[in-house]
């Protein structure tokens, strides 16, 4: 706490330095649809005074008294300028007109806002807007946010068709995924083949791979900040698309006499309609849908309300034997309040839930699990002066985890009802951070977050003999469950265990010249929630568990340095970063761990650690008919778990071993070429080292079977993965005055039909009795066509 006071003191002392200055504040929106513009720049010509808009399109700029030319720019939009006389604080809202090229839907100039600012200290961040994501070729034509960020350096997937993503050698559960600030616990549809984000409802996404601002916390690897569109506040608009897998429709409109607007977007798959036609899957049903909602209402100039929500669902029915459905639901009510010209505030009340249900008809078992959280937070932005911006706030979050409830699904079922202990926890945080321009060339970003976590009572905790939930059996050389000794019961208003950590964040940038800069950053972050998964790929059935008596919070320290350069007046940009990350208390699973339906997870895990380091290169071409980027990542990601309290050498003999998401080389190349007003061509190329796996190193005969033996974990790798995707977009010539605008997208995923191994299985041939290795590949060359429209 003392450190926090010190930082606040530091801030306030700086405030006294300003004098005889006035500020201009307001919001910047798009003329045609009224969408707020994020990251637009506002500056005074021929001065150093400037600012950029925040997540709500708000800016505040302070300068000495005088007359200026105010310039507002945002790439893809016409630059706006206006003479102003600054002799008092002023409120000015601006609307920008999309540049002429916007008559067709193609933006030729890549968004400048997607490139990292040379001047600002923020590093390790990648921005993509919906247009860029939509231009990339996608599996079966399904535009996919999660797959598109995997084209960025430092981001990989865990095998084709698997859920989640991995940032800088971190695990999938270490990413904080926020949709309009609400936590999304599972980002995938169809077990990972598609993502839950409907690109039509998304304004832009920001991925922090490191240098995470102090306002974010709770995950140690990255933050994926996805923002939904506000809804057209100028006129009614419809857009949608028809694809092979799903169809989309989005409606947006102003309402309440232009005081507000809304957006409602729906997407639904219809694979299940075709499945009866295919013999192998005729009795199965697979489907998903999702709904996005966003509305806003302007009470007055200084007060605005936002309500956003998401609801998505997946349903499986395998011949009536196994039915499974799962999904996320979120809601967020926000109140934007401009306290004064320099002080912007946002109060949010956020709800998130993820749940799944399985019914196994053939054993008459019904299984439910869910995680729910309620979050109240208050964030403030204080635009102190031209050189200093402060962000500070508080947040309180309550978690309710229901790890599993088993019920008989019929009256005749032999299944006994079972309910695993519900777990409750509170996570609180207070933070303050500053973006501080020290000199013309030197800028700092510094902040501090203090987070606290209480595992709340209302359940019993098992105590073990010698306080060992896991014990090493030195005779057999294996880890075994500890012996339960007693139980301690905690009442609802008791706290089982409380943690508290300071999380300093620091960044510095130094501009070498007009076109290049160097930056460095340090981030400490804490993660109190863990996803239990002992499989190579994350599944929708994995259970989240809060820290507590036996599971400690994960703590990461990340250090990064980077070099940034623009060429030819921003036509090309180069970003080069290198990082080292260490995570303490990463849980690891003992050999043969059994997580399903386990009330005492602590008997299956050891406390481990993880480390990752690497180098990332991103070369972008931002202007011209051809745009795109080359991303290359050289990295290593490892983990280990020593025996510790359980005794023994630890998992994998206590040696460091490669994580399943370690990729030595990862090259992604993506490009888009505009031939003419009618045709645009895009392509992706991906080349990466195969996923680490464990292959057998021998066999023995037991009960007539050939039993495989294994050495250390993840010592082998699947074959190298590479793939080329192509797509062509046809925009038929139309009268530009017509409201209906359509485009056809033709694409081929995996164009040269590479049989990439999703996995290699080892089994004994039924005929010969000999062992063999079987490669499973998921996607061959997949052609697809989809039609998108706007009205």
């Amino acid at each position: 706490m003392k450190q926090l006071c010190l930082v606040i003191f530091l801030f306030t002392s700086l405030l006294c330095l300003s004098q005889e200055k006035f500020s201009i504040s307001g919001t910047i929106t798009d003329t045609t649809n009224g969408e707020t513009l994020l990251g637009a720049t506002v500056y005074l010509k021929n001065t150093n005074f400037g600012a950029s808009t925040n997540e709500y399109g708000f800016f505040s700029l302070t300068a000495p008294k005088g007359s200026y030319t105010l310039i507002i720019s945002y790439v893809g939009y016409n630059t706006y300028s206006q003479e102003i006389t600054l002799n008092g604080d002023q409120k000015l809202d601006f609307e920008l007109q999309e540049s002429a090229t916007s008559l067709d839907e193609v933006i030729i100039v890549a968004e400048e806002s997607e490139t990292v600012s040379i001047k600002k200290p923020q590093m390790s961040v990648s921005k993509l807007n919906a247009q860029t994501i939509k231009e990339m070729p996608a599996v079966l034509g399904e535009v996919d946010v999660i797959k598109s960020i995997q084209m960025l350096p430092g981001v990989t997937n865990n095998g084709e068709g698997s859920a989640g993503f991995h940032v800088r050698g971190g695990a999938a559960d270490q990413n904080l995924v926020l949709l309009d600030e609400a936590i999304i616990y599972n980002t995938s549809h169809l077990f990972g083949f598609f993502s839950v984000f409907n690109a039509d409802a998304i304004k832009n996404i920001k991925l922090y791979k490191g240098d995470i601002p102090a306002k974010f916390g709770g995950r140690v690897s990255s933050v994926l900040d996805v923002r939904q569109k506000d809804g057209n506040s100028k006129k009614f608009a419809l857009n949608g698309g028809v694809g092979l897998i799903s169809s989309r429709l989005t409606a947006e409109s102003p309402f309440f006499k232009d005081k507000g607007s809304f957006l409602i977007a729906g997407r639904t798959s219809y694979v299940h309609l075709f499945m009866p036609l295919i013999e192998d899957v005729k009795d199965d049903k697979i489907s998903f849908y999702d709904l996005n909602l966003k509305t806003n209402f302007e009470i007055n100039k200084n007060n605005k309300l936002y309500l956003s929500g998401y609801f998505g669902r997946d349903a499986f029915d395998l011949s009536g034997l196994i039915t499974n459905n799962y999904g996320n639901a979120t809601g967020n009510l926000r109140w934007n309040h401009v306290i004064n010209d320099k002080l912007f505030s946002n109060l949010s009340f956020i709800y998130s839930k993820y749940d799944y249900n399985i019914v196994l008809d053939f054993i008459e078992l019904d299984w439910d699990a869910d995680i729910t959280n309620y979050n109240l937070k208050y964030d403030l932005g204080y635009y102190v002066n031209n050189n200093l911006t402060l962000d500070f706030g508080v947040s309180g979050l309550i978690y309710n985890v229901n790890p599993g409830e088993v019920k008989p699904s019929t009256e005749t079922s032999s299944i006994n009802p079972l309910k695993l202990d519900e777990k409750r926890a509170f996570e609180g945080a207070v933070y303050a951070s500053a973006e501080h321009q020290i000199t013309d060339k030197l800028a700092l970003n510094y902040g501090l977050r203090y987070s606290t976590f209480s595992r709340l009572g209302g359940q019993s905790i098992t105590n073990y003999v010698n306080n060992q939930p896991v014990v090493y059996n030195s005779d057999l050389g294996i880890y075994e469950r500890g012996e339960a000794e007693s139980e301690t019961s905690y009442s609802k208003n008791e706290s089982i265990k409380t943690f508290g950590y300071f999380e300093p964040r620091f960044g510095v940038s130094y501009q070498l010249n007009d076109a290049s800069s160097v930056k460095s950053s340090y981030t400490k972050s804490t993660q109190y929630l863990h996803l239990l998964s002992n499989t190579a790929s994350v599944t929708p059935l994995d259970v989240w568990t809060p820290s507590g008596q036996y599971i400690k919070p994960q703590i990461s320290n990340q250090y990064a340095v980077g070099y940034y350069r623009n060429f030819n007046d921003n036509a090309y940009t180069l970003e080069l970063e290198s990082y080292y990350k260490h995570v303490d208390n990463r849980i690891d699973y003992i050999d043969g761990s059994d997580l399903i339906g386990n009330n005492n997870i602590e008997t299956e895990i050891l406390n481990g650690e993880a480390r990752a380091y690497g180098m990332e290169l991103l070369l972008r071409k931002n202007k011209g008919d051809f745009t795109g980027w080359l991303a290359y990542t050289l990295s290593k990601s490892e983990q280990r778990a020593l025996g510790g309290n359980a005794g023994g050498p630890g998992i994998n003999n206590g040696d460091w071993y490669k994580t399943a998401y370690d990729r030595t080389h990862d090259i992604s190349l993506t490009g888009s070429y505009k031939l003419n007003d009618k045709w645009r061509f895009s392509s992706n190329f991906v080349f990466q080292t195969g996923r680490p796996v464990t292959y057998p190193n021998g066999q023995y005969n037991y009960e007539g079977l050939s039993v495989a033996t294994y050495a250390n974990r993840n010592e082998n790798r699947l074959p190298t993965y590479h793939r080329l995707d192509l797509s062509a977009t046809l925009t038929p010539n139309r009268n530009p005055d017509k409201r209906w605008k359509g485009e056809w997208v033709f694409s081929i995923y995996n164009a040269y039909n590479r049989r990439n191994a999703a996995s290699v299985g080892f089994s004994q041939n039924n005929q010969t009795g000999l062992n063999e290795a079987t490669r499973i590949s998921i996607f061959g060359a997949i052609p697809s066509v989809s039609y998108n429209f706007k009205f």
Binding site: F191, F193, L318, S319, I322, I358, L360, F362, I363, S414, N416, D475, L476, G477, T535, A536, S537, Y589, D591, G592, D594, I596, A660, V693, Y695, N697, G698, Q699, Y700, N701, Y702, E703, G704, V707, A708, T709, Y710, A711, R713, N714, E715, N716, R755, A758, S759, V760, G761, Q764, N766, Q767, G769, N771, E772, A773, T774, R775, S777, I778, F779, G780
Partner: protein, 281 residues
């Protein structure tokens, strides 16, 4: 039971997977170890006097030769409760036999194998098993409602945690099918398990049809043997599937006290087993 839940993912990945093919893969080769297959199973209704223990050596994963049997070892089983000693005779073909074993439910037995100057040891308790109550066939049950499956029923005792191993063997097949069962969700109830064969031409597997004969064995097993078989079964049937647990070496209970690194593969189990045969109608 839990295998079923995992089956969900295996099935899902099959729906999406475009193709499966056999490929050549380079694998490492570990040092050879002794393999002890000491399964002292007391079949209900017999004396249980005749028992066989098999010894062999492990081999490279893609080995195409016959397994190497181990002869010349000294194999002794001791009842730790009574002190009775059972010496097994070397049959010179990798098997060691006795015709004087005395199984007693709940008694603990130890195994000692001396081979090549090393001594391997294991202990295990003889677990009881309930009778197979009923066996029938159906079409609608199982994974596929057009294929025949055989259903096995037995009553789980209510007072303790029980672990079972089921073995289905269709006459003429190369391999048995094994299933591990615990009473975790069904304690004290009637337990039922089905076995259905899918139609898989690639793997030379045909569904059951009238006239097919299946041997069924239900073993009562210890918790540690259950853990061993659970892993073995998971790895054997879904090894390499991204939704199965990370593959790891499964260690049995045959240790080498003087040279711990030189432990043996395999297991020393002592069980009661109920055996039945079912012919499809």
């Amino acid at each position: 039971m839990k295998n079923y839940i995992k089956t969900l993912f295996v099935l899902t990945s099959i729906i999406f997977s475009a193709c499966e093919d056999v490929i050549d893969v380079d694998v490492d080769t570990a040092e050879t170890r002794l393999v002890i297959e000491a399964s002292l199973d007391w079949e209900k209704g017999t004396t249980g006097n005749n028992q066989t223990i098999k010894l062999s050596l492990s081999s490279p994963y893609f080995n195409t030769q016959d397994i190497t049997v181990v002869t010349g070892a000294n194999v002794v089983v001791t009842n730790m409760n009574t002190g009775d000693i059972f010496n097994f005779t070397d049959e010179n073909d990798g098997s060691y036999t006795t015709n004087s074993f005395e199984p007693i439910i709940g008694n603990t037995y130890s195994l000692q194998v001396s081979y090549n100057g090393e001594t391997y040891e294991a202990t295990e308790t003889l677990m009881a098993v309930p009778e197979i109550k009923e066996i029938n066939q159906s079409i609608e049950g199982g994974f596929d409602d057009e294929l025949l499956e055989v259903n096995v029923y037995f009553d789980d005792p209510v007072d303790e945690e029980n672990y079972y191993l089921l073995n289905f063997y269709e006459t003429g097949d190369l391999f048995s099918f094994f299933a591990d069962v615990s009473d975790e969700f069904v304690n004290g109830n009637e337990v039922y398990y089905f076995f259905e064969k899918e139609d898989d031409e690639d793997n030379n597997q045909a569904p059951f049809q009238a006239g097919d004969t299946v041997d069924i064995e239900l073993y009562g097993i210890s918790e540690s043997y259950y853990n061993y078989m659970r892993l073995l079964i998971e790895q054997y049937y879904s090894g390499g599937n991204p939704f199965s647990s990370t593959a790891a070496l499964i260690k049995g209970n045959c240790i080498n006290p003087t040279n711990p690194d030189n432990y043996a593969f395999g297991y020393f189990r002592v069980t009661e087993v109920d055996v039945a045969t079912y012919t499809f109608e």
